[in-house]
């Protein structure tokens, strides 16, 4: 069980590291160890999928890596900043400029319009919105017609697109997505995944995505499979079938 895996650089980009986890451990209430000495590097421009059985620590990994939560021990380094050492406020301000987050449950602010939701992080950062970028983003994601609607008036797939646009509005270094297609049907899920992949390919966006679906993971470059709070195995450009059999194996092991 190798826990210290070096990342292979993606072919078309320089080998600079966007995110690096070093011996990260996270224990809840002192008893449940959700992450157990995890180390992981994510290169710039990579699209990394995280898989594993339920309860294996995927969401916890994402929360710690994105600065939403702090590890019990170990370090999280984003570019040149060690996230885990920052105060809550500093982490928050850093997060809104450099990290995007997409949830399975969208988590849009229901009282705001689509446009207001998308620009909210910028507003919070007192940042001037980059109009050209936003227009390009909205056009690319297919929300141009929906800007004045409220989240309640959108389908799940549309809401998830708004969440994706919101996570990208501040042009973050890295985007985390926790089961972004978990609540969507196959076709819609496919569209959302294709969109994420396009963002990676076209804009060089770094994305880390948790998923239960081997088919979804196949859209990513690499996949890590977690088990019991550790990284069980790392696949470079796996096929869906490879991943499926690995997961089945894990299930029968348990």
């Amino acid at each position: 069980m190798s826990s210290l895996l070096r990342t292979r650089t993606t072919p078309h980009l320089a080998a600079s590291t966007a995110l690096s986890l070093r011996a990260v451990t996270k224990a809840y209430d002192g008893s449940v160890t959700a992450l157990d000495d995890v180390s992981l590097d994510v290169p710039r421009g990579a699209f990394l999928a995280v898989m594993g059985p339920s309860g294996s620590g995927k969401s916890t990994l994402l929360h710690c890596a994105s600065g939403l939560d702090t590890p019990s021990s170990g370090a999280v380094v984003l570019g040149d900043v060690e996230l885990s050492r920052l105060s809550e406020t500093r982490r928050t301000t850093l997060r809104r400029g450099r990290i995007g987050f997409i949830f399975q449950a969208y988590n849009l602010v229901p009282s705001l319009t689509v446009e207001q939701n998308i620009t909210l992080p910028l507003r919070l950062a007192h940042a001037r919105p980059d109009r050209a970028w936003l227009e390009e983003l909205v056009g690319r994601i297919g929300l141009a017609e929906l800007l004045q609607r409220r989240p309640g008036e959108l389908s799940g797939g549309q809401q998830q697109r708004v969440a994706i646009a919101r996570s990208l509005a501040a042009r973050p270094d890295i985007v985390f997505a926790d089961e972004p297609t978990g609540a969507l049907d196959l076709d819609t899920a496919g569209e959302v995944l294709a969109l994420l992949r396009d963002l990676v390919d076209e804009f060089g966006q770094t994305v880390v995505m948790v998923t239960h679906d081997p088919g979804a993971a196949a859209w990513a470059h690499d996949t890590v499979v977690m088990k019991d709070g550790r990284i069980h195995q790392r696949f470079a450009r796996p096929t869906a079938a490879e991943l499926a059999s690995c997961l089945t194996q894990l299930r029968t092991l348990a």
Binding site: S59, H63, L68, D69, E88, T89, T92, T93, R95, R96, G97, F101, F103, A105, N107, L108, V109, P110, S111, L112, Q116, L120, P121, R123, L124, A125, H126, R150, P151, G152, R166
Partner: protein, 827 residues
Amino acid sequence: MSTSMASLSWSMARARIGGLVAVGCAVLGGAAMITVSVVLATTALSSHVPTDRLADADVVVSAQQQYPVVEDIDIPLTERVTVPADVIDEVARVPGVAEVAADLTFQVVLADTGARIDARSWDLAALSDPDLQGHAPGGSPDLLVDAQTAADTGLELGDTTTLSIFGEPRTFRVTGIADVPGAGVFVDAETAATLSGRSEGAVDLIAMTVAPDADPEAVAEDVSAALADTDLVVSTGEARGDAESVTGGGARGELLALAASLASTLTILIGCITAGAMSVSVANQRRDLALLRAVGATPRQVRRLVATQASIVAAVVLMPGIALGYLASGVFAGRLTGAGMLPTGIPLALTPFAVPIVGVLMLAAVQVAARSASFRASRMPATEAVAESRVEPRTPSRTRTVIGGLLIASSVPQSILPLLWRNETAFVAAVTGTLVAIIGFALAGPVIVRAVTGRVVQRASAVAGPSTWLAVHHTRAFSLRTAGSVTVLALAIGLTVAQIASGATLTNATAAEHDAGLVADATVTGSLSQADLDDLVTEDGVEAAVPLVSTTVLRTSTFAGDVSTAPHPALAVGHGASDVIDPDVVAGDLEDLHGDTVALSSPTSGSWDAAVGDTIELTLDNGATVEPTVVAVYERGFGFSGVMLSTDVLAEHGDPRWYDMALVAGDPSAVATWASSRPGVESSAGAALSGDDESGAEQTINLFVLLPMLLYILMAVANSLAASTGRRRHELATLRVIGMTRRQILSMVRREAVITAILAIGAGMLVAVLPMTLLGLGFLGEPWPHGPWWMVPGIAGLIAVMATTSTSWAARRALRTPPATVLAAQD
């Protein structure tokens, strides 16, 4: 099934405890306040003033000391209603009656000191066969003095002393001293009958002892049977105390009226607050309820679940609430005694009665509130339920807004009324107008809030920082939520301002009319008889000396077939009133106010439909029915009451009396010289009316009733604000995930609270300050709300501080959980 329902509701409730804390507080405070009014009511109904002078009488016959009113509380009469003399013989014939004594009390003044003391017929005291020095009074000039009075006055056996009998000096010899209950001097029955000036030998009450082998209850029944064709009251045991003391019975009536008016106010208040707390609690559990619907719970089951939850909470806090109420009634009773509304000797009825009454009332209130609060949530189609539970902004229904608008509109004419009429009706209309407007605001509030904040949103998005922008935005988007808090806060502001300002306006209006209408040159106070005043007028330089007495008259009126009787404060004035007061007569002449006559204020004249020359039927404070003729109509009805009787009416239909004050026209120094020769009589230059103390005491009581209610409302609002902020954990977590810092979130939430408070202050001011300004303009010609200067800023500040602290507190709590955990929980 029901146990599982209870445990299910309990586990759901635990997770959403904030809203239920609000329900609990509403029930706790409500139970305490209702307990107080139940204790007051049971005290009024069952407690008796302890017997003193009647302790040795077995059976007592007295007159009905209350004016019977159909379908309402009887009106207490504050002067002794007498018993005809022939009843004495009638009851003496009843078998088992041993001795019969007629009681008669009147007042005399000691010529030496001017002190006024009670003079009584000896018969009643003789019943208890007291130890005597000397002998019982046999006939004039025999006088028996009780030991206490003897000590106070220094009178000894064999002394002679002069008593003023309503102005007529008469010399007595002290022939006996005895230690008997009820201080005063005693004369024999016949002398008492003559001196009291009672017509036809009527007496205060008749006391009897029964034969040693007779049962007092059985004898009392026979006495009642013998008196069946009269409306006299026969009492035994504890009830004798009420017969003995006129004021005791009257105060009990006042107490009952206070308890009744408290009960009706409390019903509305507690109903509103409980319903408000309940709807916050339901909103907090909206998603859970929606999910229950989605998994197959019927609407009734959902409502039952909510009701069960609330009932459990209510049951938990009920007993502490009642206990609190018992404690509070002690404190409140102390206040009432201080204000003279509760006789000192009367014991509080701390009966367990309150428990079932309060229990049933509060549980019923909670059940109704819970079921209606969850009505909408329970009836949604299950799918919609899940969807709507996420998208909180809802559009308020049109009907609701329209009804609210109509109510607000209907309050406008009510508050303009004081500009047209200067009377109590207009006064009451202005105060109720405030309440109507608040209810209207509760309904139309969401749309108003949306409209007001809409403007602000547009401005704010251009200039404001993100916290302010979001705050304004939320206030607007969640206009239903905002309007709920705004309404209750506005209610608190409106209620307080209206209560304080209306009271102050009335006091000021009365004072202003006194200033303008009291034209006398001097005032004399002390024990004054008509004979004394006649003597004063013979002095050089004195033109008129007019006694003034505050009293009450009852007027029975028929409106749309309903007969109703109401008490009205009245002023009785002596001859020559026009020399000392100027009530601004608009019809007739005050000079004519002598004999069987009355003057009315113009609103009274209008509402009784009685003009100069008409004869009206009134009941005096001793139960006598009179038919005086209206001789004048005047404008200054606040300073001089709505009804002004000639003192001749009182003299004709009641006992001779001592006056406490008189207004004098003429040279003040001549008055001063006259007064200085009379012990106990004081004079002062200028005109002053006493009786302002009484309205002061009433205002203290009002404040004492208002304060707990205000605290109750504030507590309810604080709870609701905290609970609805707690409900936003998910929303706040989302914002944090997007990158909002703790400080930004706290400042956003604080700003929302400030906006809520500002809207509430604005609404409260509109609904209360505007009518109160018009009231001030109409009644005093001064267009601002009257009352202490700190009233408006004080209340506004209190509301603002309370709204922000309770909201910030709840937000801080919500921020304690890491956002990822909150979002993972998916609630």
